[in-house]
């Protein structure tokens, strides 16, 4: 009993610095955000609204738009990062000359700082200077240069494409690591049964990699939902606030219009929505490790 007590004490001593920091810097501010969301707060005045503030929040015209944008943005990015990540992992798992180099190069977009990626894609999409319009015209797909990032119909999708490019290497890394642990005997057995490539992929590869796929999907979902830089740098939520997602809109409300109360309401909604997915992720991590 004494020995376990001593282990408890040293356990707490080891973790206490990080816990103090987290409570001070993460959980206390989170609590404050909840608190602020009950107030009408600007730079000059503070007025208590209580829950009636939330009644106003749910009538806010921007809420459905921002929520829909956030979902569109996240779902499309996650799906395409999965498809691209998985197919590139399968490709890079084959043997060909220069494979190590290619594997290294493929990771680069993920390593590139987000702000820079946003700038480079802004240049690519630029109506005059951008190569995209030029190439599309050469191919005869468009006749007039398109203003990708200034057209409310295309702005969000243009950023989505850049986000897929930026983030898919993470999925590639995860699936490439996953492919190494698929038991080779299963492939051999499938070969004996005369299974083709697709059947093998569906019945051997995917089931063996299921935990990795679930983890990666959840992680990319959460990260993409929270991703601020690309939208902020490429469109700033525009044109006409049509491409805002939660992080950019919260930032805009708070630091461009100084409406801290409303910003906090959006932040609370954002947090609670993501909490569901975070808890799923945490559950799968725990399950995988057995007991933590």
């Amino acid at each position: 009993m004494k020995a376990t007590n001593r282990e408890w004490i040293s356990g707490y001593l080891f973790i206490v610095p990080s816990l103090v920091l987290l409570f001070l810097l993460v959980f206390y501010p989170l609590f404050l955000t909840f608190l602020y969301s009950l107030y009408d707060m600007s730079l000059t005045a503070v007025r208590y609204l209580g829950w009636s503030g939330y009644a106003r929040f749910f009538n806010n015209k921007m809420l459905p738009l921002v929520f829909r944008n956030s979902l569109t943005w996240t779902l499309i990015v996650v799906v395409f990062q999965f498809l691209l990540g998985m197919s590139s992992a399968l490709l890079l798992n084959r043997s060909f000359p220069g494979r190590a180099l290619v594997r290294g190069l493929v990771i680069l977009p993920w390593v590139m700082p987000g702000v820079i990626a946003g700038m480079v894609w802004r240049l690519i999409y630029d109506p005059q200077l951008g190569l995209l319009n030029h190439y599309l015209r050469l191919l005869g797909i468009i006749s007039q240069p398109l203003i990708w990032l200034s057209n409310p119909k295309t702005a969000l999708y243009a950023v989505i494409f850049a986000a897929i490019w930026k983030g898919f290497p993470f999925s590639t890394l995860m699936y490439l690591a996953g492919l190494q642990i698929v038991p080779q005997e299963l492939y051999e057995a499938a070969d004996i049964d005369g299974a083709g490539g697709w059947i093998k992929f569906r019945n051997v590869t995917v089931p063996s990699m299921r935990p990795i796929i679930v983890t990666t999907l959840l992680l990319t979902f959460i990260w993409t939902f929270n991703y601020f830089e690309l939208v902020y740098v490429m469109t700033g939520g525009g044109p006409g606030e049509k491409s805002h997602i939660f992080p950019t809109y919260v930032y805009d409300l708070a630091f461009k219009r100084f409406r801290f109360g409303v910003a906090s309401q959006f932040a609370v909604f954002d947090f609670l929505f993501l909490l569901i997915f975070s808890l799923f992720y945490i559950r799968t991590s725990f399950k995988r490790e057995g007991s933590l």
């Binding site: 816990l19 820079i116 030029h134």
Partner: protein, 278 residues
């Protein structure tokens, strides 16, 4: 049979080529623009390969009237400081989580995971107000503190994985030989986990080096700006100095790419460890 073999290899190479084109095209655009003189930057239609490549943009980025060198230094300072603080804190905590049994361990671990996942937008308003009332706004300290919010959980989680990969028996043997728990940790386990510490440090540096939202919010004076915010100097209200901007971008990418090159294997191991354990 030989024909099928050949076809398999040809399709592989074609797809590898397509993948590389997709991945590298934006890098080509960035480097190309950084090497163009002003008259080439604005030609219509645009083209990828500069006709008369020049390093002028790079010289200009470091030239007179440009704050770039200063921003570089600021970024380096803030990222290094944050990385150092997190490493010290996380080294202890992650060991505690990896090795010691105490009530509430799972709960605290959930908190660590949770704080790694939740949106920074959800705490930026109160953090900003806290920094204002404590008069920390517009200091390096405010950024380092801000960066702790997301890098402490990441650091703890990463290092915990590396600790778990080291056999328990080593420190148990050390403790039987008379080491205290702390001595066993410090003298036996920490040296073994050094490659993992390196990879974690690289990853922490990488995420703090490019942080944008806090840097945009907490720093108000030009002399304390970090790179991700600083490059907006080249973006004017009416026109953007693309040549300089892209030269600066190349220079910002280079340190993280080099860093990544050195720790690639451990880093990929650290990123995928949790998921691959099966």
């Amino acid at each position: 049979m030989k024909k099928r073999f050949l076809r398999y290899h040809t399709t592989t190479l074609v797809f590898v080529f397509l993948l590389l084109f997709f991945v590298l095209f934006p890098f080509a655009v960035m480097v190309s623009m950084s090497l163009k003189a002003p008259d080439e930057q604005f030609t219509s239609p645009p083209y990828l390969v500069p006709k008369r490549p020049t390093l002028d943009n790079y010289f200009h980025v470091f030239g007179r009237g440009s704050m770039f060198a200063r921003y570089f230094l600021n970024s380096f300072l803030v990222a290094s400081l944050a990385t150092l603080v997190v490493l010290v804190v996380a080294l202890f905590s992650s060991y505690g989580y990896a090795r010691l049994i105490f009530p509430g361990r799972s709960f605290f671990l959930v908190l660590i995971l949770l704080s790694q996942l939740f949106p920074l937008a959800a705490i930026i308003v109160p953090l900003y107000r806290i920094m204002s009332t404590t008069r920390l706004i517009d200091t390096y300290v405010s950024l380092v503190i801000g960066y702790l919010t997301f890098s402490v959980p990441v650091g703890v989680w990463f290092l915990r994985g590396f600790f778990l990969s080291i056999p328990k028996e080593l420190e148990e043997a050390a403790m039987i030989d008379g080491c205290s728990r702390f001595q066993a940790f410090w003298r036996v386990v920490v040296p073994l986990v050094r490659p993992g510490v390196g990879a974690t440090a690289a990853y922490l540096f990488f995420i703090t080096w490019q942080e944008f939202m806090f840097a945009l919010t907490f720093i108000t004076s030009e002399t304390k700006r970090t790179l991700p915010v600083g490059i907006f100097d080249f973006v004017g209200q009416y026109e953007t100095n693309w040549g300089n901007l892209m030269a600066a971008s190349v220079l910002i990418c280079v340190p993280v790419f080099i860093l990544f090159l050195f720790v690639q294997r451990q880093l990929v191991g650290g990123l995928t460890q949790g998921a691959v354990k099966g």
